[in-house]
Amino acid sequence: MNIQRIVIPIMLALVAALAFGAVVQRRPHPYASDEPITEPQIFAEGVISTADFDDYLAFTPDGKTVYFTKHRPSFSSGTIVISHFKNGKWTIPEVAPFSGQYGDEQPCLSPDGNRLFFSSNRPVNGATPRRDADIWFVKKTAKGWSEPVHLDAPVNTDAYDWHPSVTSDGTLYFVSARQAEKRANNIYRSRLVDGKYSSVEMLSDAVNSDRHDMHPWISADEKILLFVSEGRPDGFGNDDLYVSYNRNGAWSPAKNLGPKINTQFYEYSAKISPDGKYLFYCHGFGDINLPDRRVSYQELLGIFNSAHNGFANIYQIDLAAAGVER
């Protein structure tokens, strides 16, 4: 046997595998775009961004599964649903195995994808839904997601505790209305120490204000904090998105993401995609696409039945175009 007759095909196969790998590597995540996305672009219109009130998106680390929330028209009573990227498109969603009965929203995956946190009004004991929301999580098991686990005090209280986001070391960022009488909803942090969340601290006033400060998203390395604040003097109307950077343990003063992102309507729940290249966020509450002339009833129904009907949708933009430093 000539050794070359074996080695050469193996080498060719290796080169082919590497080349193929490079192609896969170049575009690993299904939401990635070949073209730059320099203006906000509606995400997966018709499947994920629909005529319903669709918001609060969370990708799995491989970007191939997305969890998001569908609300009633009044923005209450969410349900968490899942879509998978298969055969080049996002599948018709299904209700998440742990959702579909109570009001669940704001799904958030741990950076390793092994835990999914969310907020819910589901009862901790008994059968009556809570009047407030608490933070829960499910764990990945061989058979799928575990039953939901309720986080103990001091994370959850009798006030609203919601909007979870978690770092690689398990540090939980969330929103609580526990001091609502003094301030409003504010952003808090709890460190995971020996597997427990045993204390809670409110973030500094570089981030928090006397208005509602909500929807924190913390990067896995705890360096970037995206959040929402309501009606600040430097805002563009209603809820706007802000960014703050962790500079050696201190938060930089919150910076408005600017008019490319923020509008007179509501922008909220921003996240950086798992590949670190895109900003995903929600926009809506009144932004309807009507022509400036008389419309017929059929035209009106067509608009009402589209994603451009004034409810919320999920948007995508290049991180650089969104003015977030990486």
């Binding site: 028209p73 009044s74 969603p93 309807i288 009907n309 409810f311």
Partner: protein, 312 residues
């Protein structure tokens, strides 16, 4: 062989009667309600045409659409000829059917901005409705004027935030004398409160006044109230109670032309057990989110007799 069938027929008949009985006593979803925002219905005097508001949540946007009764069914709505561009709502037929009043912010070209509502009117012509006319002073002011209601003597009742009220919205009336409206007067303490009081609706004799208020002491944010005119004065209004009012909003009372039904608008959830009996599938979820009862406003009706009101 006949006997069991007869027996079953009797049982069925009794059930039907019982069913009809409970139906009569409960508010029913009216046919024209969908997953979008419907409300504020007004019927032509012959009962054959319904005008109502259609919009969508969060946009501050609504149009007046109409539907016709055809072979016992309400037709697919169409845009009212005078609507479809600006924010229009709260249609109301004059008792003779010759004029249709409505509220609109159409002085403004920005259809989504919160702008000033006035009361407008269209008149019936042989060719259809006239162009809308703003009622002008003294009815319309720089404050909000909404929810017109007209009695047989031509008096106009409406809501306004004008200065001098009890608080929020109050109900006012302007008499029609020599073809002109007199200076509007506040309907007074029997009806108006420091909260929002709105959407006046009278029975055919003008002796009974239905309206909506978000005053304290109700079942929820907005409830329907009724007051009777006794010796020329409105008695203190009372809450219409649990047959109509829920913890959701009930507003825009309207009577059917034959006086049999009270129509109203509510954003109540049809499946309001707060907890579904079992987990929903995605198609069940989407169906619930897009159907009447999803918590966008819908139109309901109830037999007036079920309310057991005092006789005028």
């Amino acid at each position: 062989m006949m006997k069991p069938i007869l027996f079953l027929c009797c049982i069925f008949g009794v059930l039907m009667l019982v069913g009809a009985q409970t139906q009569n006593n409960q508010a029913q979803l009216f046919a024209l309600s969908t997953g979008y925002d419907e409300g504020s219905v007004a019927f032509s005097p012959d009962g054959q045409t319904a005008y109502f508001r259609k919009g969508i949540a969060w946009t501050n946007l609504s149009f007046i659409v109409l539907s016709k009764l055809s072979n016992g069914r309400w037709t697919e709505p169409e845009m009212a000829p005078f609507s479809g561009r600006y924010r229009d709502s709260e249609p109301f037929f004059a008792p003779d059917g010759q004029r249709l009043f409505f509220s609109s912010s159409r002085v403004s070209t920005d259809r989504t901005a919160r702008s000033n509502f006035d009361i407008w009117v269209v008149e019936k012509r042989s060719s259809g409705w006239s162009e809308p006319v703003n009622l002008g002073s003294p009815v319309n002011t720089a404050a909000q004027e909404t929810s017109p209601s007209v009695t047989a003597d031509g008096a106009l009742y409406f809501d306004s935030t004008r200065p001098g009220g009890r608080g929020g919205l109050d109900i006012y009336f302007a008499k029609m004398i020599d073809g002109k409206y007199t200076g509007p007067e506040n309907l007074g303490d029997a009806i108006n409160s420091t909260a929002f009081d709105a959407n006046a609706c009278f029975d055919t004799h003008g002796e009974r006044l239905f309206f909506a208020s978000n005053r304290e002491g109700g079942a929820g944010s907005w409830d329907l109230y009724v007051s009777m005119r006794r010796n020329g004065r409105w008695e203190v209004a009372r809450n219409l109670g649990g047959a109509v009012n829920t913890r959701a909003e009930e507003r825009w009372p309207a009577l059917s032309p034959d006086g049999r039904y009270l129509f109203f608008t509510s954003n109540r959830r049809i499946d309001d057990s707060a907890v579904a009996k079992q987990r929903l599938t995605y198609s069940q979820l989407v169906n619930k989110l897009r159907s009447a009862g999803n918590d966008s406003s819908d139109i309901y009706r109830i037999e007036l007799s079920a309310l057991k009101l005092d006789q005028p």
